[in-house]
């Protein structure tokens, strides 16, 4: 059987990819996809722990995370469309009306 | 002795009559300028009458200070009472007013100066309604500070003054008014937040048994804070000569020192004085500065006698710096108001020196100097105001030869200047002599060095008189009119007080004698504690 640590390290790696993506990518949709990647790595962690501990509640959380992620994507994409109509761009660097 | 009027204590009346006046002023339409002026004057006259009643009814033999039983005109009501929970004791804040020999002269001074300030504001035209409303609110704050014996109440009044003062300088002031106003505000708030922390620490350290149930209740009562037996064991400020007590004393001291102002916290004062309108300068110099030294006498020293004694030498040294530094700065000024502002720094130094002496002469000298400086400096600022109204300049070098042009004005000004430089026969002399005599017994060398300040003061005062009155009258001032009746009404009473107290100081000395003795004895205590640097 594959040890738990492999799953965790893989999830951590995925999570880091997501975080780095959010920080360096400039396209709002790609940033969003990176956030989804973060959420999925979390799901993986949950499932791995759940399977190894024989405790089903972790898998239950995964369902909630998936649902919420879908809702979040719906709202997020709607907002991106609204912004695109106003500014004709979804590049985060050009979304700079509000600044300190 | 009947201290009540319509079932409300006389001190409450004195404190809140200006608020009543303020509300009345706010209700009057802003076109009726004369009505607004008279309402304000009326409020301060009533306050003055109450202060005369207090003066006549005050029992001069009772000391007060750390003893609630010998406080007079006491009013004590429960204000906020929050029942205790298992993990937090009962919170009890009182509306606790009372006066003793330390506060009576200040109460009289406040009433007098407020009255004079309203009179000298007669010519204000810009947003007159707001001006008088704020002035009256300021009056309440000042009076409240001098009559409250509950530290929380004291702090509330202390802070209430900030905002009116900010607006009075900021709206009706001179060209750099914005800068001066914000500087005043930030400095004073900085001091008072430190005071707030000490206030909280004291609250948690002191507890007294409740009169009816006997449970221990934390309290803001200043008099209870003065009794070491009320400090809970293991509380932050328990014991004597602990480092926390020293820190707390320094915190309070900075709060009060900024108001006095003591070097190096004095830089707001010249700015505020120069920019403020005449009446506000009068209040600032006449009353507000006294709050600092009053706070030291009423709060800081009796609550932390050990720390007060420990820091006595630095206090005297700061007094010395104030005296000499203030005088030197005053000498270099060409702006009339700045000169008086720095002379205030110098004169407040004498109060500090007298206080630091920690003997009866010194303490009486300090208290009396507070009163005298209030009246004399008020006169000086009014005098500047009179000439500024006519010439719109305060540059000392612009004047000359006014003696012949304005004889009545010159006479008053000479009295004020001579009083300020400490000429025998005028009130300033008496208090300065007392202060220096007292200080000489405790700090020989500092006192001798400080007398240099007296010489300097005489120097710049006389030099100013010479620059303003002697010499050629410049062509442009040929049409100047002499002082008018309204201006005389505000200056003459002050001049009379200055002369009278110079010849016969007993009426005021009497008031504070018992309290000054008690205060000194109490701070000294039985044990002789170490003084830093000696």
């Amino acid at each position: 059987m594959i040890p738990l640590n492999y799953y965790l390290l893989f999830a951590a790696f995925l999570f880091s990819v997501g975080v780095v993506g959010v920080l360096i990518r400039r396209n709002a949709i790609i940033v969003f996809m990176c956030i989804e990647l973060m959420l999925n790595s979390v799901n993986l962690t949950f499932i791995a722990f759940s399977a190894f501990m024989g405790n089903a509640i972790g898998q239950m959380f995964v369902f909630f995370v998936m649902t919420v992620a879908a809702a979040e994507a719906a709202v997020g994409l709607a907002i991106i469309i609204a912004l695109f109509r106003n500014k004709k761009t979804i590049n985060i660097d050009q979304i700079n009306l509000l600044k300190w | 002795m009947n201290n009540n009027f319509l079932n409300i204590g006389i001190l409450t009346w004195m404190t809140f009559i200006p608020v009543v006046g303020m509300i009345a002023v706010l209700l009057v339409p802003k076109e009726q300028k004369t009505t607004i002026r008279w309402i304000s004057l009326g409020a301060t006259i009533v306050q003055l009458i109450f202060s005369v009643i207090i003066y006549t009814n005050f029992d001069r033999s009772l000391a007060g200070v750390n003893n609630a039983a010998t406080m007079q005109f006491v009013e004590r009501y429960s204000w906020i009472d929050i029942k205790s929970v298992e993990w937090f004791g009962r919170i009890h804040i009182e509306y606790f007013l009372g006066i003793d020999g330390i506060s009576v002269p200040m109460v009289l001074l406040t009433a007098l100066i407020s009255f004079v300030a309203v009179l000298s504001s007669w010519s204000i035209e810009k947003s007159i309604k707001g001006y008088f409303a704020l002035l009256l609110l300021l009056d309440t704050g000042m009076m409240g500070v001098f009559v409250s014996l509950d530290f929380f109440l004291f702090y509330v009044f202390w802070e209430i003054m900030l905002l009116p003062m900010y607006f009075l300088i900021g709206i009706w002031g001179g060209p750099r008014r914005e800068y001066a106003a914000i500087k005043f505000f930030i400095y004073t708030l900085f001091g008072s937040v430190l005071m707030l922390l000490v206030l909280i620490a004291l609250y948690f350290s002191v507890s007294i048994p409740d009169a009816s149930t006997g449970e221990l209740v934390h309290t803001f009562d200043m008099i209870a804070m003065m009794n070491p037996a009320n400090y809970e064991a293991n509380s932050l400020l328990f014991g004597l000569n602990t480092s926390w007590r020293y820190i707390a004393y320094v915190g309070l001291f900075i709060g009060f020192a900024i108001k006095v102002p003591i070097f190096p916290f004095h830089t707001w004062l010249p700015d505020a004085h120069v920019e403020a309108p005449t009446a506000i300068s009068v209040i600032l110099a006449g009353v507000l500065l006294k709050m600092g030294t009053y706070g030291l006498m009423r709060v800081a020293m009796p609550i932390f006698p050990d720390a007060a004694i420990y820091y006595l030498y630095p206090l005297a040294f700061l007094g010395f710096i104030n005296i000499v530094y203030g005088a030197l700065c005053a000498m270099a000024q060409t702006d009339f108001k700045k000169l008086i502002a720095y002379s205030s720094v110098s004169h407040m130094g004498i109060v500090l020196l007298g206080m630091a002496a920690l003997n009866t002469q010194g303490m009486i000298g300090a208290m009396f100097q507070m009163f005298n400086h209030g009246t004399i400096t008020a006169m000086l600022f009014l005098i500047v105001g009179v000439i500024y109204d006519r010439t719109h300049t305060r540059g000392l070098n612009d004047f000359g030869g006014l003696m012949n042009q304005m004889p009545k004005y010159s006479a008053i000004m000479v009295i004020a200047f001579f009083a300020a430089l400490g000429l025998p026969g005028l009130s300033g002399f008496v208090s300065e002599v007392f202060s220096f005599l007292g200080a000489f017994q405790t700090f020989r060398w500092i006192t001798i060095a400080s007398t240099l300040g007296i010489v300097l003061t005489a120097g710049y005062m006389l030099w100013t008189l010479q620059r303003v009155f002697l010499g050629e009258l410049p062509e442009k001032w040929k049409s100047l009119t002499d002082i008018n009746n309204r201006e005389l009404i505000m200056l003459v009473p002050l001049a009379i007080i200055v002369i009278l107290l110079g010849v016969y100081p007993t009426p005021i000395l009497d008031l504070m004698n018992a309290s000054a003795n008690e205060l000194v004895d109490f701070i000294k205590g039985e044990n002789n504690l170490t003084i830093l640097g000696q």
Binding site: V42, F49, L83, R85 | G170, I182, F190, V193
Partner: protein, 495 residues
Amino acid sequence: MLEQVYNSLQFIKPELILVGTLLVSIIVDLIFKNKKVVVAFVILGLVLSFYYLTFLNSINQLIFFNMYAIDPFAYFFKIFLLVATIGIVLFSVLSKEISDLKSREGEFYYFLVALTIGMFLMTSSTNLIMMYLAIELTSLTSYMLAGFMKEEKSSSEASLKYVLYGAFSSGMMLYGISIIYGLTGSFDLLAINMAIADGVSSLALLISTVLMFVGFGYKISAVPFHFWTPDVYEGSPISVTTILSVASKAAGFSMLMRTAKIMFIDPYAAPTVNDWQIIDSVPIVEILTILSVLTMTLGNLVAIWQSNLKRLLAYSSIAHAGYLLLGVLTMNNEGYSATLIYFVTYLFMNVGAFLIVMLVSNKLNSSDIDSYKGLGMKSPFIGVMFALFLISLTGLPPTAGFVGKLYIFAALVNKKLILLAVIGVLNSVVSLYYYVRIFRNMFLRESDIETPEIKLSLAEKLLILVFAIPTIGLGLYFAPLVEFAHASVEIFSGN
């Protein structure tokens, strides 16, 4: 099992009424052209919910299989949230931004109800799943509210920033939750607490705690998770800014406080009266201290440079979050009750200040600090009231803001955290500087351009007074407030 669900239902009547209000007002919105009907309906629902809430004042019970707490602490925050929401509904009725939405105006109000439901859930959750769902419900609604004026560039931009930061930090928080789950095998706060007390890997625990605090920090806009705050506050409609700065912050704090108290307190330590024994392996106090000092200092310092009043108040609300964290980090009943007291005072003064900004921008179409020049002289009522709210925000007596600060600093001094108290008071001196800039513009300066005099309607004046009277009243007599706050944290006594 069904029986417990059924029994639990009676305790969540206020929430159920809100859900009902939400659903029915969607239908009402479709039927009626006049959107004020929706407003009336929403207010009715909120008041009804308030009425049923008052029956729960002394109940202390865990319902729905320990997922949801009905206790005085949650009660306090629910009362707070309802008062805030009702205030903001009234506030929005007067807002030109909102009434200009025309056909979409009704939506705005039932989104506010949805937001309130989310915040209710946040205050009561005792299970990480519930907490996550509550946060997401609140966040999703807030994203939509922030971008509600979708035709405005700044509003849609604000909402995009909000959604990106929000989703990112909730991802972080989830990762933290997943590690905690791996360490303890549970989502229930009490069970997690026991597991932590029995000993777990402290490095993993530290990482997961920090990650969870990213989520909380984002909700309460603590530095360094505050980057969304100024942009969102500036870009959103002012009513939304207000509710985010008051209600959603309060909900975030209630969750943070509950979690900190339940998760990290040593259940094996000897019972104490006031101070709580914290499990050694988690540096929770240190984390909170760093957050708090950074938050108030940076909030205050950056606020000095702002020229837009909404942005200035955004930074000021960041700074206030720092003061509130000071109360939390004392980790005792006294500090917690001080935080509660501070919140109530903050509600009145902050909503009042935003109300004035909103009314002025209704008339002048600007919330730039320069457009306030000479305002105090021209419209004395607005000037004086705004000054009152700002004084209270600075924390000068005799206003409510002083009472809040007094209790926070009292809690610190009593715990002998003198240095933190000194940092706190110095911060309030700094804050004076930028609040005074507003006074200065209102009273000390003349307007350079001709601005119309601002005439307020009676309703507008009354609403200002609704916030102004408690601001001064609580400053003069605060006994009931303090007693309420004390009673609300009573359940947290000791360990």
